[in-house]
Amino acid sequence: MAARPSRLIATLGWVLALAVLSGAARSAPAQSAQPASRIVSLVPAVTEILFAVGAGAQVVAVSSFDKFPPAVEKLTRVGALLNPDTERILSLRPNLVIVYGSQADLLAQFKQAGIPVFVYRHGGLSDTLDSITAVGTATGHAAGAATVVAGLRTRLDTLRRRVAGRPKPRTLLVLSREPGTLRGLYASGGIGFLHDLLELAGGSNVFADVREESVQPSQETLLTRRPDVVVELHPRPEMADIADARRAWSPLVSVPAVRFNRVHPLGGAYLVTAGPRLGGAAEAIGRALHPEAFK
């Protein structure tokens, strides 16, 4: 019930905004044939892609959570998934805005304003490669994107060959947990780019049968799934602490990964960002699963 008046206010705000910006908005469709010269990215993964394909100089603003590449430090911040600052985005007069597929209201608003939108959707590893190509095309850097995609493919293929023929350990890929314990633990399910990376790096996901991107298993489920290796991905590097991981996993001694000291906390945002740095993420996981292949 309360949503309706606020939507009305938002619409009224939009009418005003449109009146102010009508000149810019009207000329936008004409520009869309040309590569975007003023880009606003609300998706950190796409920001990385933009800079990698060579469109970095065209980016005028990024989301509040962007940290990479270091060049983003100097750019304007315009909120993120839950709290995009539409007013500031409009004032930057962008001719391409990158949003998440779930930001339906925002999408409709930019469509009304005649600003071209690139909709990013989360998916598997192949979706990430497709996103790189699409971003390149939309920004006039198709060749740059092709180079990035080829480089990433080569890197992933090298890794695939390196681990080929080795036994695939049953692996639990942890996406997050509370520090010091296994409470609030989320693990990768059987779909999504992280699952794809794990399988590519020569592991067999213990939750491959769960058709979800993430699973929240109980201690009992962890004990029955019995992973041979646990790989933890911590976006904050300081959270990847081996002492903390040992302490957290120590109660589950019957799990082979715990008994044979094969719990590997890895740290860094690159591990979980579906962008050009996934090659490094795949290698880090491969190294944890098959240390002997990297000697």
Binding site: P179, T181, R183, G184, E220, T221, L223, S254
Partner: protein
């Protein structure tokens, strides 16, 4: 002639023949204790997987090779123990807050203790930092500190030294602090990355999958202290829930009773939330349910609520971990889904 005087109904101070009361008390306690014990024995036998109990209790197999023993002793038993302790603590804290505030709508979370605990936990989940202390991992440590700070603040706001607490001031100060802290929680979530928002939201739903006895051992001293406090309260609470003046005229040290009640109930709530997150509904449903079953005499109501709260939460958690297995339902959702309709049914039947 005077034995059936109407005033004897509500006030415990009235002279009542000792023996039948004691016998009834014993029978009631026995029934509630039996329920709690049966539930706590049966609950760890059921789970998402079938395990062999002869293997689980076979000492000749080394523990690290014995998956059945691990599932029983690491995954299930601590969960049941945590459920029983948290359920008992929240139920009794609910009874005590309802008597202290003389308000049937009071819960252990009314005065902002759990909002303080939640804000502490959110801070660590979203912004990181903080260290483990003894058996506590960082999130429960922060949650305990938050609970302590919030209850200290409410207490300081609502009391002046040596004077009887005004329940109205206490209630208003607590409710306002609760709202203020809840706003801070929302603000912290708003600032956070959405993966962290999701983790934070999950914590707020409550969870008993403690995975070992560490956090239970950490909470135990606090829970024991709070239950020692509760044990001093029943007779005074009977009088206090009628009115502070009446209680004072019958020789109750009102200010002291209020202190003990507030401190014990806050301690129990803080410890329970640190172990399991803010599991809702227990603290309001169980007191009313038990009151409908055994009456309003706190000498019966307090221990009966503790036992029933333990049984109820263990049962709800059993449902939470098995109903949709392998997916878990947040236990706070189950307490509301089972407790709500059951309570309404009982209410309508008695009305």
């Amino acid at each position: 002639m005077n034995s059936s005087h109407p005033a004897a109904v509500a006030t415990a101070a009235a002279p009542v023949p000792a023996r039948p009361l004691r016998a009834r008390f014993a029978a009631t306690m026995l029934a509630f204790a039996a329920l709690a014990i049966v539930v706590c024995i049966l609950a760890p036998l059921v789970g998402t997987t079938t395990i062999s109990f002869s293997r689980a209790f076979d000492r000749s197999i080394p523990f690290q090779d014995n998956v059945d023993a691990q599932i029983f002793f690491v995954a299930r038993l601590p969960r049941v123990v945590a459920g029983a302790l948290v359920g008992a603590a929240l139920a009794v804290a609910g009874v005590v807050f309802q008597a202290l505030l003389r308000n049937p709508l009071a819960t252990p979370f009314t005065l902002g203790v759990s909002a303080g605990a939640s804000l502490g936990a959110m801070t660590v989940i979203i912004f990181g930092g903080f260290t483990a202390v003894g058996p506590w991992s960082p999130v429960p440590v922060a949650s305990l500190l938050g609970a302590g700070a919030a209850s200290a603040l409410v207490y300081l706001l609502a009391t002046s030294p040596g004077r009887v607490m005004s329940t109205t001031v206490l209630l208003l100060a607590g409710v306002t602090l609760n709202a203020f802290l809840s706003a801070l929680i929302l603000f912290a979530q708003y600032l956070a990355d959405f993966a962290e928002v999701y983790r934070a939201a999950r914590w707020l739903m409550g969870d008993l999958d403690v995975g070992g006895f560490d956090s239970i051992l950490g909470a135990l001293p606090l829970l024991i202290a709070s239950f020692v406090g509760f044990a001093t309260l029943p007779s005074s609470l009977n009088l206090l829930s009628v009115g502070a003046d009446l209680a004072a005229s019958r020789g109750v040290d009102v200010a002291r009773t209020q202190q003990w009640a507030f401190v014990s109930a806050s301690l129990a709530t803080g410890a329970a939330v640190a172990v399991a997150g803010p599991i809702g509904f227990i603290g309001i449903i169980v007191p009313h349910l038990v009151r409908l079953l055994v009456g309003a005499d706190h000498r019966v109501l307090l221990p009966a609520s503790a036992l029933f709260g333990a049984a109820f939460l263990v049962l709800c958690d059993l449902g939470a971990r098995t109903l949709l297995a392998p997916v878990e339902i947040p236990v706070g959702v189950v307490t509301a889904l089972i407790g709500g309709p059951f309570f309404l049914w009982l209410l309508v039947r008695h009305a």
